[in-house]
């Protein structure tokens, strides 16, 4: 695929992630921090996010199994997750996290469990979509580099 077509595809894919509400303006701001010395900065931020939060997700799952539920602990966990999710604008994950917090405050166990299932879905979907996006972005950068005159 030629570099122009690749560049267009990257732009379209990113726009689609915006339009579907998966990411917000923060993603662009992080992209703007990329430069020649750190061309994969956004991807590394996202990779770090998923490495960092995978344990949190497990902790929340385990905490939701306990009886009685410790809503303060759940609230602390989701606070941590949301703090990290804001780093690159993971909008849907943040939204589900905010809803989860409301259920924690109301001590609504069923609400917490249902919302957490939705949050995990959004978390996994975003990961999949961003992996595809970054793969395409890498191809576009390679094509761009290859096309430069020696």
């Amino acid at each position: 695929m030629d570099r122009n077509r690749l560049a267009r595809q990257v732009a379209l894919q990113k726009q689609s992630l915006f339009d579907q509400g998966y990411i917000d303006q923060q993603f662009i701001q992080v992209e703007e921090l990329q430069d020649v010395s750190s061309p994969n900065f956004v991807e590394e931020i996202v990779t770090s996010y998923y490495q960092d939060t995978s344990r949190l997700i497990v902790n929340i799952e385990q905490a939701l199994e306990r009886r009685p539920l410790d809503f303060d602990q759940l609230d602390r966990y989701i606070y941590q997750l949301n703090g990290r999710s804001t780093s690159f604008g993971a909008r849907k994950v943040i939204a589900e996290g905010a809803l989860f917090r409301e259920y924690c405050e109301a001590e609504n166990a069923e609400g917490c469990k249902t919302t957490f299932q939705q949050l995990k879905t959004e978390y996994a979907t975003l990961k999949r979509k961003l992996e595809a996006y970054f793969q395409l972005a890498r191809q576009a950068r390679l094509a761009e580099t290859a096309s430069r005159p020696m």
């Binding site: 923060q26 010395s37 750190s38 931020i45 770090s48 703090g83 804001t86």
Partner: protein, 154 residues
């Protein structure tokens, strides 16, 4: 003397805490003064982003992980025009770190950070001595005017 422009070298994957590799990084703003900032955040992901955002706007920035490290740094004589500090830090909380820093007579602009603002957190943090309180992430819409204000006051 013009501020040193530093860039984060990310190496072969994984975030770096920054090893001071100079680059021709484009800086989005320049200031009358050499501005410095301290970032205090125990989440590496957030800490790196906060530092890089400030550096992108021409502020020489140091980032530490704990309230204790921030207090130690200030106690050792390091001075910063701006301090960005998360409310929830392990062992020494953000408010406690701010209390100790203010007790040393530090008059830097201190901006409290949180993932989600609550009324209680806001009260606690302001009582400790912060000047402003914002939700993360750092957004140029609010942090650039703060930097400008500090720059104009020097």
């Amino acid at each position: 003397m013009a501020p040193t422009i530093e860039s984060v070298y990310l190496g072969n994957g994984g975030l770096s805490e920054g090893n001071n590799k100079r680059s021709n990084r484009f800086v989005k703003a320049t200031w009358k003064n050499n501005l410095t900032a301290l970032v205090v955040d125990n989440v590496e992901l957030c800490r790196v982003l906060e530092r890089e955002n400030l550096r992108a706007y021409g502020v020489e920035t140091v980032a530490v992980e704990t309230g204790e490290a921030a207090v130690e740094l200030v106690a050792s004589g390091s001075t910063f025009n701006l301090i960005f500090i998360d409310i929830y830090l392990p062992t020494m909380s953000g408010p406690e770190a701010v209390r100790q820093i203010r007790a040393m007579g530090v008059r830097s602009k201190i901006i409290g950070l949180t993932a989600i603002i609550t009324e209680k957190d806001e009260q606690d943090f302001f009582a400790a001595g912060i000047d402003e309180f914002y939700e993360k992430p750092l957004d140029p819409d609010w942090f650039v005017p703060i930097i400008r204000e500090v720059d104009n006051q020097i």
